[in-house]
């Protein structure tokens, strides 16, 4: 492990020496309308990026709240470090792979350390675009954390997160968001990243959770899942609302431009989240007899993930419908993953991000309306339900399949490599005492008496 640390520090230091400093762009005297507009766009995208950045805290609070007290410090550090390491690697490498000069529609190259010829990106200062993209990359990477919670080695997690932000995610981003990307050119639509961010993160979480195996005690010998309740519901609730807040940067910010279109996007986002939350609450009430708190929170997030692809292409009513379906999907997906797949996903990362990322991407092919796309200054496309036939739907499905395949393969290889080298799963004893002690020599709540676990399955 020590060797790994030394290596990491060496690499960090290399960066300093390797790079020729980029010349910063000139600050235009903001007196002309043109100049003011650039400033306004910069302000808007910067604030949006800051909100997306803050989603990191939402993610680690959600994970921490839905898992046990003995692993919560580990959740905090994972969430902090995947951003710190991810930001550095994305700046150094990921950004170039994603937005550098296109190579055959598959990959960008050039512009490592954000050394790009043009200090602007479609009229936006390059650095604010980079900041926004870093925040997104952080979100894509941190989704994994929840899925593999309570049993993954911290060192292996650091390497995994760097690989996602530095390679797996930027390639997908290039395909769909870079002008030369093959899916972009094909016309696949994913406005703010249901696929690019959430499906990518969700599939990484699925592969990771499956390969690391379930938490000790999660499944009875006969495969019956046992409940392992989270330790702090308010923490999870605050995490959810921080995420929701961040989504007002995530979705409207993806316009990368201050325009009236952001108003429409904010509303579709609001309605889908609300519908997802409401329907998950009613559905669990009907199914389990009482309204379920953590599933309702998941319902909100499911609605948000699902509307992310289509938020600029669909009407209010469609957004509402997308959220409704998402809220239903997430409830059944959680049960399916837990009972049928027997993949132990403590926070529902797969159900929220992978399943609803896919649903949201499909939904564009169903609900898109050219009038909305046009009004919002993006692609004007009609989906299946609005007279556009299956053309767009086909592109969306192709995108989903290709991205899923890419992520599934690369993530599997990554986890396999980690398993063979540093290992990915902590010992049963480590799990018993908790990762806080075994991985960090720390108790998260030393002033409080922990209660003896004495839960039985049913």
């Amino acid at each position: 492990m020590r060797r790994f640390i030394v290596l990491a520090m060496f690499l960090l230091l290399m960066m300093v020496l390797m790079v020729t400093p980029a010349l910063a762009e000139e600050a235009g005297e903001a007196k002309t309308p043109q100049g003011i507009e650039t400033s306004l766009d910069t302000v808007w995208v910067l604030i949006a990026a800051a909100l997306v950045f803050f989603m990191q805290a939402g993610f680690f609070f959600l994970e921490g709240g839905l898992t046990r007290a003995k692993n919560v410090s580990n959740a905090m550090l994972k969430g902090a470090m995947d951003f710190c390491l991810g930001a550095l690697i994305f700046w150094a490498v990921g950004f170039a792979l994603m937005f550098g000069a296109d190579r055959g529609g598959f990959l960008g190259t050039g512009g490592f350390f954000a050394n790009m010829a043009d200090p602007q990106w479609n009229g936006l200062p390059l650095y604010v675009f980079l900041f926004f993209q870093i925040a997104f990359a952080g979100a894509a990477a941190t989704i994994l954390a929840g899925g593999i919670a309570e049993r993954f080695k911290f060192g292996a997690y650091c390497i995994a997160t760097v690989t996602i932000t530095g390679l797996i995610y930027p390639v997908v981003g290039h395909w769909i968001w870079a002008e030369g990307g093959w899916l972009y050119r094909l016309g696949m639509l994913d406005f703010a990243g249901s696929t690019v961010v959430h499906t990518v993160g969700g599939i990484c979480a699925l592969v990771g959770a499956w390969m690391v195996g379930p938490r000790a005690g999660k499944y009875d010998p006969d495969g019956t899942p046992r409940a392992i309740p989270g330790h702090n519901i308010p923490m999870a609730a605050l995490g959810t609302f921080i995420l929701w807040l961040g989504w007002y940067g995530f979705n409207p910010g993806s316009t990368l431009k201050a325009s009236p279109a952001i108003a429409t996007v904010a509303m579709t986002t609001t309605l889908a989240a609300s519908a997802g939350g409401a329907v998950a609450m009613f559905l669990t009430w009907a199914r389990y007899g009482k309204p379920d708190v953590s599933m309702s929170m998941n319902g909100i997030l499911a609605g948000l993930v699902a509307v992310t692809a289509g938020c600029a292409y669909v009407s209010m009513v469609s957004a509402f419908a997308i959220g409704l379906v998402a809220g239903v999907l997430v409830v059944f997906a959680v049960e399916f993953v837990d009972r049928r797949l027997r993949v132990d996903d403590p926070v529902g990362a797969v159900s929220v991000h992978a399943v609803n990322g896919i649903w949201g991407t499909i939904a564009v092919g169903l609900f898109a309306q050219a009038s909305y796309g046009e009004a919002n200054g993006v692609a004007a496309v009609n989906g299946l339900f609005f007279g556009g036939g299956v053309a767009q739907l086909g592109k969306q499905l192709l995108g989903i399949v290709s991205v899923s395949a890419w992520v599934a393969v690369t993530a599997t290889l990554m986890f396999l490599a980690l398993k063979k080298t540093v290992g990915i799963r902590v010992s049963e004893e480590s799990q018993r005492v908790g990762l806080d002690v075994s991985e960090h020599n720390l108790e998260a709540y030393p002033d409080f008496q922990p209660a003896v676990a004495e839960k039985g399955g049913m």
Binding site: P225, P229, Y288, D292, S294, V334, E335, K455, G456, M458
Partner: protein, 112 residues
């Protein structure tokens, strides 16, 4: 001297203490414990999966009394703690070999 150890419902603690005070035994020690007996545990839900809490919260009340007061104290506790439903709890009685008041060093029945 005898030690009376009563395992009671948490919400009956106040009336029981009231009863003890009226018998001249204000001193007592309580511990939060979990109990299992005839009373069935409760079922909770976590993300669609039910789980049973087999142990229910109880309060263990310990009070050391003089032999002559034992029966009266038992009666008072039973009266104040009883609801008539399963889970009312139990009282166990133990012999106390000695008692010491730390502040003064007094021992035996003077220490109570």
């Amino acid at each position: 001297m005898k030690k009376l150890e009563a395992l009671i419902r948490p919400e009956r603690l106040e009336p029981v203490m009231e009863g003890l005070r009226s018998l001249g035994y204000p001193g007592a020690t309580i511990t939060e414990v979990k109990g299992h007996g005839k009373q069935k545990g409760v079922t909770h839900m976590w993300r669609g999966a039910g789980y049973r809490l087999e142990f229910l919260p109880k309060v263990k009340l310990e009070v050391v009394v003089l032999d002559e007061d034992l029966q009266r104290v038992i009666n008072a506790v039973v009266k104040a703690a009883r609801t008539g439903a399963i889970g009312d709890g139990k009282i166990f009685v133990y012999e106390v070999a000695d008692a010491v008041r730390i502040r003064t060093g007094e021992s035996g029945f003077q220490a109570i």
